[in-house]
């Protein structure tokens, strides 16, 4: 390793301030037990500015990631009630079929117009919008099966995103606290240096 102080910048790699990754590859901010010996573990020993810089970079990365995850989470928060709505509807259709009744509905014809229609439930068929301009015919049971499996998948993914978000927030706090501690350590060090001179 070079002893040129400027070269030290490149010595602080992501690996040296992080500590492994979680299940989905988000790095784990390293908790520094003893800042003095941590700084000295670099060759040459890292300055407080350098360490704070490294943790600030990490902090901003986590912040950006937090934003991304929040967005993703909000998407699921929107998607889940949509699926729930569809399930409710199909259940209603199915119930009517079992009771041998037809349904009289007002459906949205255009933005401000509702039209009246009678739905013959005895057919037991419903069309599901699958996206990408595709709509497919399903029986009520098949539709429910598809929708519930979609729902549980979305719930699982939602839980994962939530977990990652919690994890990322922890890393943000750890980085923040590390920055403060490195700063404090530097202040104390400078103070004791001044006192001994």
């Amino acid at each position: 390793m070079s002893t040129d102080p400027d070269a030290a910048v490149s010595n602080i790699s992501l690996e040296s301030i992080t500590d492994g990754k979680n299940a989905r590859g988000i790095p784990h901010a390293k908790f520094v037990d003893d800042i003095e010996s941590f700084a000295n573990s670099f060759n040459p020993p890292a300055s407080s500015e350098l360490l704070i810089g490294a943790y600030s970079d990490l902090f901003s990365k986590f912040k950006a990631y937090e934003q991304q995850l929040s967005q993703k989470r909000a998407n699921y928060e929107e998607k889940l009630p949509e699926i729930e709505k569809s399930i409710k509807l199909v259940r209603h259709l199915k119930k009517k079929k079992d009771e041998g009744e037809s349904i009289i509905t007002r459906y949205n014809l255009a933005d401000t117009i509702y039209a009246k229609a009678e739905v013959d439930c005895s057919q037991g068929i419903v069309n599901l919008w699958l996206g990408a301009n595709v709509m497919l015919e399903y029986t009520y049971d098949e539709a429910l099966e598809l929708l519930t499996s979609k729902e549980s998948l979305a719930k699982k993914e939602f839980a994962e995103v939530t977990e990652d978000l919690t994890f990322t927030r922890n890393q943000i706090i750890t980085s923040e606290v590390n920055i403060s501690r490195i700063y404090n350590w530097d202040v104390r060090r400078k103070r004791s240096n001044a006192a001994s001179n």
């Binding site: 349904i103 459906y107 949205n108 919690t166 104390r188």
Partner: protein, 146 residues
């Protein structure tokens, strides 16, 4: 939902608000790993608390709407009503609609009760953590909402 964290770890010389702590207010207690874990937990709980409160208020307004609907149904003269499921409206008998409302109320009320319990638990745990962390770091740490 982005809830900003309220953790503001003050530095002895100057904190992020640019406030300078008096010498005797400084606290040299080192942050140990267990302290860091507690600080993280506190942050997590705070974020969750905001989420829970958001959900609670959403559920409350839903329940209010259902309550309004039930009242209207009771005052109605037994004619068929329109029930809104998803984006379409369905004709339903008064009895059917009442049943529907009751089932919905039950479902949302159960959710609301669970959130209420969670909120109480979170607040208890946060109060305990605050006591510990303030005890250790005094004015060097700020756990209050801005």
């Amino acid at each position: 939902m982005a809830t900003s964290l309220l953790l503001d770890f003050k530095m002895p010389e100057a904190n992020s608000n640019g406030m300078i702590l008096a010498k005797d207010e400084e606290n040299d207690a080192e942050v140990r790993r267990e302290d860091q874990d507690k600080i993280n937990e506190f942050g997590q709980l705070n974020a969750r608390l905001h989420e829970v409160r958001g959900e609670t208020s959403k559920l409350k307004s839903l329940l209010e709407k259902l309550d309004d609907a039930s009242t209207e149904l009771m005052m109605g003269n037994g004619d068929a009503v329109m029930l809104r499921l998803g984006d379409a409206l369905f004709e339903a008998s008064e009895e059917e609609a009442t049943e529907f409302c009751e089932a919905e109320v039950e479902r949302y009320q159960a959710k609301l009760d669970a959130f209420d319990r969670e909120e109480t638990d979170i607040q208890e745990r946060m109060a305990a953590l605050k006591k510990i962390l303030y005890g250790r770091f005094g004015k060097s740490i700020n756990l209050e909402e801005k």
